[in-house]
Symmetry: C2
Subunit: 718 residues, 2 copies
């Protein structure tokens, strides 16, 4: 109980930080009348979009809540609600801070780069810490309620199911928010660029472009709220999956009550170290923004290792305590500590690799810039080649992570490593969430006619934001891949447990699970699971294409019907573009989001009938669904990494031309050259790749896994 | 023995057809002096390339031959040599017919479309039937020699190993030929287009473009010789894998000697029906080329069903004979017949689906053409979305194929279905291999200044060739996916057999194989296998990019140093471009080709050491390698289908503009419009997608599988 109280206090720290940081943000100068007008338009658009998105999700959510309450129990359904509401809250609050920090960052950047960075980063840190803190609080508080106040055992099925449902609630919000936000932001970006930059020949963020406010709204609803929901989900689901594994592995052992809160304790201390880390982010004399951010990250990492060592001392009395799972795997508390440290190593490697693949001046980005010299086609060919190649090293890191942590402490070791990885979510999201703030600040500077130097400062911040965005996505997908393996382990262990106790769970009578690759039902499941990220990616890309086309037509219409817009005589109707995109994004997000929710259920019943029903049908169907979960991880990891890294590389290849790109023959290609135009094409393609389809694969993988776990729970319940 | 003799006679039929068809081709009018000159240049370039490619492969081949002879036995190594030599021969003869048929087709097209089709198709049919016939002969003759003359039992390890080695020989040629040919042809195509069409503003196949002969050479070495080697390999490997499965499933049963030649018998009768089918390809009064080709395909399908029924009667005495594998799976000869028919159904569905995704006027191609209206970026976004989406239906067809044939006759049922699918290779390759002939004919017509109508006729043939090329690739990858499952089954059954007989195979003492998805070594293998097609695809795309850049620079140099080229005063130096590409393609094909050859071996030994060596290390390593084989299938199928279908769709979206594309607002976009230019970008991207990286994934999947089988054989031998 004391430990749980301390964990909850750890979570509350993030809220305290959020309040303090927001207050100090709001106290900053919010700029001129014109700047405030623009910021207000962005704020209104973002709030209106999020309201509409949440109403739509709420309708789906209420239906699912009722279903879960009916099929399982109200306690479990309440877990679902907690996950959904807190995930939504993290995104909502983060975005609200972000849309207020943007204008203040623009104003601060008129004075100094350091001032701009400070405000933008503080806004990002609020989002980051709320993501980690609220996820931790949700799981910890509900677990305390269930075990301490309702008196359930830590491994009681109700507790397990309620936690899984909490993860499901978070996943559901996250897939909608990722997709909806992604379609909104990239529809605005692609559409606005096509008709503004290419057709009308006006610069980005020009106030004459009717899509420009929508573009800035998109940064907030996609890159801020969508990303926050995604990481909230990964965090909550991983903590839950690790706890579920602990509940299975240590059922009946006295150590259970302690080891089950180990993941929460790691999370709690890392909230504190992440807060401490934010204070290390300070622009040094070298004026390197990336350097400042890395200082914060490294400080958090080092402090976290010390803090987790402390957790080991408090919970297990040190590093020599021996454990043995019910399956017979033996390891020490020191092994678990080593797994946590390996989780940090995996994070560090993924950060470095992603920076290599997306950073300006590195071989992959330079090769795309070079390929732009010979045209649009070669830019795309090279970009696709880089995107395919960029999957290799992260996959090898994931493989090494699995092998090393598994050899230390079996499946539970993998779970602890992922938990440790995600305990850094607070600081990692902070590094990312300042991106949309600076992007907006640049837009506001442009639209309100601030001096060029301001735009230069915000552009410098924005370029770094591009890389940190890619890094966060690499981190999210890497941890999601590993986290999903933990979920799969929970699925197979659950299944083992149910079929071993057929008297208690009569549905599982005579069910024999054969997860062997030589079982054709497993092969079929792998192929079907492998298909999902492809189909889902196709849907996301097409949705952006349609939304962008609608924006192109709307902007063309406004230019045609109001020629005064181009002479600054008439203000364009920004609201209509925002409104159109809102409708399009909400409409387009529904069907792809339901794909991973329904797939495990449909596959289960189809295979059940194909295999002739009865116990044989159940056995075949459980095997197929299990394989589906791994299939979706296997192709999902590649689809997601290739899209997010490839997109980031295309984006920065375009940025290489902004100060002139020197090709291999020494010729300099300026902004506006043919080579630059080819690089803009690559950037346009990379937009939905990296900001819509790619990152949405991440919640998609986990929602498939968690639905399968719930399906098991429901079948066991009947 | 009688049956084997009949099978060999069936194979010989293809050679008889080849001789007859080639004679009647050579008798046709070979056109004007100028046409013959151009054709000679293409012929020389193609022969020089192939000679160089084969010399390089021969060096690798000799090393492997020696290794196999040393590690296994000369008999097995001889199998390797047969596979390699015959696969090379099929490509070599096919290409030699093709480079002679091109000029005759151009000449015939000056008279009539029907005449052009007849000659081009006849040339394609020679390649197609030689592919099927030589593969059948290679397997059947060597099997006869081993079992009848050397007196070995059909399931003797030497027979099994020798057949696997034969498959390996074919695979090795095929991956080199696919990659080398693919890099050559697309380097020429992309590079030539970039500098000719885009920079110099001269049409495709213009005689002033120094890369134009290289482009025509590329059609022959890539689309003809490369494709022939690929299908030869798929055919041989599938027949071998099915025979290996039969040897395991029916070891010790009297039926073994009959059932093991069932796949060969199916292949033999289908050579005959494919020859018959070629005579149904006749242009009807509607002048529909696709219709004429379909007539041939449908006729072959119907005749083949009847012929396989006959095989059932002769070998098994009808449809009611009951079999039971040593594993206890029971089925009848009627079930096997049904599986063969289902193999045809899968083929038909894949043909129809691929035609839908790549055919002009269908939704996917139209959507890409429509997206071109808003620019290069949206063309690519939509093309990528279509390429991702195009994987869904073929995968579902493969899944349905697995489920239905498995429920009829277990793993052997799947194997028979794939065998039946591939028995149609003769006619399917015929439908495809006429493409490069007509493509070349168009080039010759353009370069020799034949009247516009001739080019129109060859263009009409060429457009159909685009779709049939995509169809063949869909067929190849679909059958490769299923065939690889059969190979995986052979791997796991072999492994089961070895570890069950540790006294005979002491290396396998105490080895326990756990292919369960909950085994982390399996997960690691899946991820590593999944990575291979991505890395391989990246290498292929980059190789084309590099080759194309080299060509761009060479053509620019020639234009600069010889300004007379543009005024037709000086003949460009065609030979240099051919020579450069030859060197580039040969150099670039080596490393990617070795990736799948070495991966299973490296993974085996790395995992062996990571897992601590000994029996535990072996067990872990065998599990990882097995999972690697499935991982490479799971992502390979998606990578290959998305690349080949997406590329075909981009190509035909471009073709939609040639007679003017009417967009959704009714505006017509002509050739040369901005929308057309955007569609050319898509086509350029699609080129290496569909003709280099995508199709090469197919042999890559199988080579990984077959190397794993050989590795097993070698370990068992020691």
């Amino acid at each position: 109980m004391t430990a749980l109280v301390l964990i909850i206090i750890g979570g509350l720290l993030s809220i305290a930080y959020g309040i303090w940081a927001t207050k100090s943000l709001m106290a900053a100068d919010s700029g001129s009348q014109r700047m405030q007008e623009i910021a207000a338009a962005i704020r209104e658009g973002a709030t209106a979009y999020l309201k509409r998105q949440y109403i739509t999700i709420a309708i789906v959510g209420v239906v699912i809540f009722a279903l879960v309450a009916w099929l399982l129990s109200p306690t479990v359904a309440f877990g679902f609600a907690i996950g959904a509401v807190l995930s939504g809250a993290a995104g909502f609050i983060g975005m609200n801070v972000s849309v207020r920090a943007n204008v203040r960052t623009a104003q601060a950047a008129t004075k100094s780069l350091a001032g701009g960075l400070e405000l933008a980063f503080k806004a990002g840190a609020v989002t980051g810490l709320l993501v980690a803190g609220l996820a931790l609080l949700g799981v910890a508080v509900y677990f305390t309620v269930l075990t301490q106040f309702m008196g359930l055992a830590a491994n009681d099925r109700v507790v397990v199911d309620a936690l899984v449902a909490l993860g499901f609630g978070a996943s559901l919000i996250s897939i909608f928010a990722r997709l909806g936000g992604g379609i909104f932001t990239k529809g605005a970006d692609v559409g606005g660029d096509l008709v503004g930059k290419v057709e009308a020949g006006i610069p980005e963020d020009d106030p004459r472009n009717p899509a420009t406010i929508a573009d800035n709204v998109g940064d907030n609803v996609g890159d801020c709220a969508g990303m926050a929901a995604d990481l909230f989900e990964t965090y909550a689901v991983t903590a839950v999956a690790t706890m579920v594994l602990a509940a299975i592995f240590f059922a009946g052992q006295p150590i259970l009550d302690t080891i089950i809160i180990y993941p929460l304790a790691i999370g709690a201390v890392c909230v504190a170290t992440s807060i401490a880390g934010t204070f290390f982010v300070k622009l040094g004399p070298s004026q390197s923004i990336m350097g400042a951010l890395y200082k914060g990250l490294i400080a958090t990492g080092v402090l976290s290792i010390a803090a987790i060592a402390l957790v080991n001392l408090v919970l297990f009395g040190g590093f020599g305590t021996e454990f043995k799972t019910n399956g017979g795997v033996a390891f020490t508390s020191g092994d678990l500590f080593a797994c946590a440290v390996l989780g940090f190593v995996v994070t560090a490697l993924i950060v470095v690799i992603t920076e290599y693949y997306t950073g300006t001046g590195k071989r992959p980005v330079v090769s795309i810039a070079q390929a732009s010299v010979t045209g649009h086609g070669t830019n795309i060919i090279q970009g696709l080649a880089v995107s395919l190649e960029s999957t290799a090293l992260p996959t090898l890191v994931i493989i090494a992570g699995i092998l090393s942590t598994y050899s230390l402490a079996g499946l539970f070791g993998i779970a602890v490593a992922v938990t440790a990885m995600l305990s850094l979510a607070g600081i990692i999201v902070a590094l990312d969430a300042f991106g949309p703030v600076t992007d907006n600040a640049g837009g506001i500077a442009e639209m309100s006619g601030l001096p060029k130097e301001v735009r230069k400062a915000t552009d410098a911040l924005d370029a770094v934001g591009n890389t940190t965005k890619a890094v966060t996505k690499g981190y999210a997908i890497g941890s999601a891949g590993l986290g999903a393996l933990v979920l799969f382990a929970a699925y197979s262990e659950d299944l083992k447990f149910f079929s071993a106790n057929p008297t208690e769970f009569p549905y599982f009578k005579d069910v024999v699970i054969d997860f062997s690759l030589s079982n054709p039902y497993v092969v079929v499941g792998l192929l079907f699971g492998g298909l999902l990220p492809y189909l889902f990616g196709a849907m996301g890309m097409m949705a952006v294409g349609r939304a962008a086309s609608a924006i192109v037509e709307e902007v063309r219409r406004q230019f045609r019907e109001n020629p005064g817009i181009m002479d600054y005589k008439v203000k364009p109707d920004y609201g209509r573009a925002v409104d159109m995109l809102t409708k399009a994004a909400i409409k387009e997000m529904i069907i792809p989001s339901l794909l991973p929710v329904l797939s495990p259920v449909v596959v289960y019943f189809v295979i059940y009938f194909v295999a002739g029903g009865g116990a044989a049908g159940k056995s075949a169907a459980f095997s197929s669904v299990g394989a589906l979960l791994l299939g979706v991880i296997v192709t999902g990891v590649f689809v997601a990494i290739s899209m997010t890294s490839g997109g980031g590389a295309w984006d920065n290849a375009k940025k290489s031309f902004e100060d002139g790109f020197t090709d291999k023959d020494g010729k300099v290609h300026q902004k506006g050259s043919e080579a630059h135009k080819a690089s803009v094409t690559g950037d346009t393609v990379g937009d939905p790749y990296k900001d819509t389809a790619g990152p949405a694969v991440n919640p998609m993988i986990k929602i498939t896994n968690i639905v399968a776990l719930l399906l098991l729970a429901i079948l066991a319940h009947h």
